[in-house]
């Protein structure tokens, strides 16, 4: 009867906490690589940086299967409707990370061609600075999102 010794075999929690924990641990990103940041996003997912440690390496090609959209790169005026459509196709609950200076503010390209900040099109939860942000920066952004999710600040 070894199982009767040791700590009690019982766990109490609330429904909200359990859901938030599950959402945090298996958040699947949609591939939305646009420009330079997409290469760093790929580098984050591959062996050296290994995004799989945070349960997020399963980049889904279909937005229907994704919870998180990492807008990686500059969004042109021509791409903006596509981005919004992909976002609309994602199932709730969903989150958005704006990766890099161009996606967040237009970056150094203040001209006719670029959307000056992707938050004009979709609601953004976490902005990752850098041009491009390195894999560590992106991971920090993802961990920030997970922290906010568990704390209930961004839970949906």
């Amino acid at each position: 009867m070894a199982h009767l010794t040791g700590p009690p075999q019982l766990l109490t929690t609330t429904m909200g906490k359990a859901i938030r924990w599950a959402q945090q641990q298996s958040m699947w990103p949609a591939t939305f690589g646009l420009a330079c940041c997409a290469i760093e996003m790929m580098a984050t997912g591959t062996a050296h940086n290994d995004l799989a440690r945070f349960g997020m390496e399963v980049f889904r090609a279909s937005p229907r299967q994704a919870d998180l959209m990492v807008v990686a790169g500059r969004v042109s005026q021509k791409m903006a409707p596509v981005l919004r459509q992909v976002y609309d196709q994602m199932a709730d609950p969903k989150w958005v990370i704006s990766m890099g200076a161009c996606a967040s503010t237009g970056g150094m390209f203040n001209n006719y061609a670029l959307v000056q900040g992707v938050d004009q099109i979709v609601p953004v939860d976490v902005y990752v600075p850098g041009c491009p942000p390195g894999p560590q920066s992106l991971m920090h952004g993802i961990l920030t999102l997970q922290d906010k999710l568990v704390s209930g600040e961004l839970s949906r």
Binding site: I39, E40, T46, A47, V86, G134
Partner: protein, 450 residues
């Protein structure tokens, strides 16, 4: 349009060294026919006050058999935001039309508002897998107009960095090529070795990508302490890793089955469409701007131009692997023969005074301030400078009106021209070979759209 009967479907097998005759002939005629047909259709549509921009229906195919498939711009295998309209007849691709512009950033217009010294920050973001090549090409063009001499050490640093950049770019090309066809391990390996080079770049330039390190007049800083050990490690480890790649792919029957005889293009078609780089060299033509129009003293180093023979996806992969070896050869030679001296030009009209002089002299401080705020004036004129980028001829056309900013800057992007090869190499091929063809061209959409 040249029609082939269904009995002509050639399933790419492991032992198919030569392409069937109908593939080459059908590709050629199909392409010409497509252009003529499309022009006529468009003229007819425009007379009806409607511009057909996206797609012109080929009415020679029965409606029951024809299917038009849209691929992209949000697709994991289109290397960014490329969109393809593919006209299928069963499993056979009849026509392909690439639609671009989803990453248009207006960089050539932005270049007109930046000074010549700031221009590097702009061009480095065009082809983001080969940022140093973009910077080098732009800097060489500005220096051509200025007529300044670049010290030998700066030239050697430029060659060292661009050749390392070529290796990292080809590693990504091979990695994504593998991933698209299903060799996922190649993806992990390629990015693993690329990380070595990026760490060295970060140590040298301060950034992993988009360095703005090669500038008009030289380079931004000298190489860091201990760079020889770092570069030596890179050469040793990537040479060892190349053995892994050869074990993984070279004689792999699945890999050969998916790539041999797929996406064939001939040297004549390449020349007609302005296709350069590994795609051209895979057809057997040894055209390399490092040999024919050498720049930055690259003619002093010993290397070979790697060529293929058939011009298919497999040959393009072989050319890239061969070029990694050759680039490492150049890097090793640069490492052993690195000249001493200054890393930027002594021409004070172009490069700011050294730190020591700024502490001593008020005039030097003012001069430094003016160079970084107003920039320097470049004589009136226009020039074109081309270098051999990882994807082909990377050119910079620059017009100066004598002020501190370019009047016009245009980039001859290799990815843009190479993408034009897609309809030719994919005509009458199988739909499953689409991603293999795209990946073998290695287009970078930032380079295509700018």
């Amino acid at each position: 349009m040249a029609k082939t009967t269904t009995t002509d479907i050639w399933i790419s097998g492991t032992e198919a060294p030569e392409p069937a005759d109908w593939m080459v002939a059908g590709t050629d005629e199909g392409a010409q026919e497509m252009v003529r047909h499309e022009t006529e259709e468009r003229d007819r549509e425009q007379r009806g006050s409607r511009v057909m921009d996206d797609w012109v229906v080929d009415d020679t195919i029965d409606d029951d058999e024809r299917m038009i498939v849209n691929m992209g711009p949000q697709h994991p295998s289109t290397h960014g935001v490329l969109r393809l309209n593919i006209e299928l007849e069963g499993e056979i691709v009849r026509r392909v039309k690439p639609i671009i512009g989803y990453l248009h950033t207006g960089m050539e217009k932005t270049a007109e508002t930046l000074t010549f010294l700031q221009g590097g920050t702009n061009v480095t973001r065009m082809d983001y897998l080969a940022p140093l090549h973009n910077e080098l090409c732009y800097s060489l063009a500005v220096e051509k107009l200025l007529g300044v001499e670049i010290p030998p050490r700066a030239q050697a640093i430029r060659v060292l960095l661009t050749e390392l950049n070529r290796v990292s770019s080809h590693l990504v090309a091979t990695a994504t090529n593998g991933m698209d066809i299903g060799a996922l391990s190649m993806m992990m390996y390629g990015f693993r070795e690329r990380e070595l080079i990026l760490e060295f770049f970060e140590k040298t330039t301060g950034l992993r990508m988009n360095h703005n390190f090669i500038r008009p007049g030289g380079v931004a800083a000298d190489l860091p302490d201990g760079w020889r050990e770092d570069v030596d490690q890179i050469i040793v480890r990537i040479t060892a890793a190349l053995g892994d790649y050869e074990d993984l792919l070279k004689e792999n029957p699945i890999w050969k089955g998916r790539t041999r005889g797929v996406g064939i293009i001939t040297a004549e078609e390449c020349l007609a469409y302005g296709i350069t780089g590994p795609t051209l060299r895979a057809t057997g033509m040894d055209w390399d701007l490092r040999k024919t129009q050498p720049y930055s003293g690259i003619e002093a180093y010993d290397f070979e131009v790697v060529t293929g023979s058939r011009g298919d996806v497999y040959d393009r992969y072989r050319v890239r692997i061969g070029e990694i070896t050759q680039s490492l050869r150049i890097v090793e030679q640069v490492m052993h023969s690195m000249p001493k001296g200054d890393y930027k030009t002594g021409d004070r009209k172009v490069s700011p005074p050294p730190r020591q002089r700024i502490n001593e002299s008020m005039e030097a401080l003012i001069h430094h301030f003016k160079i970084y705020t107003e920039g320097f004036q470049v004589p009136v004129g226009e020039t074109y400078q081309a270098i051999e980028g990882p994807r082909g001829e990377l050119g910079c056309y620059l017009v100066s009106d004598g002020s501190g900013t370019p009047q016009r800057m245009h980039t001859r992007a290799p990815s843009f021209s190479n993408l034009a090869a897609l309809p030719i190499m994919m005509a009458d091929s199988l739909v499953a070979d689409t991603v293999a063809c795209i990946a073998s061209l290695d287009p970078v959409m930032g380079d295509v759209d700018r």
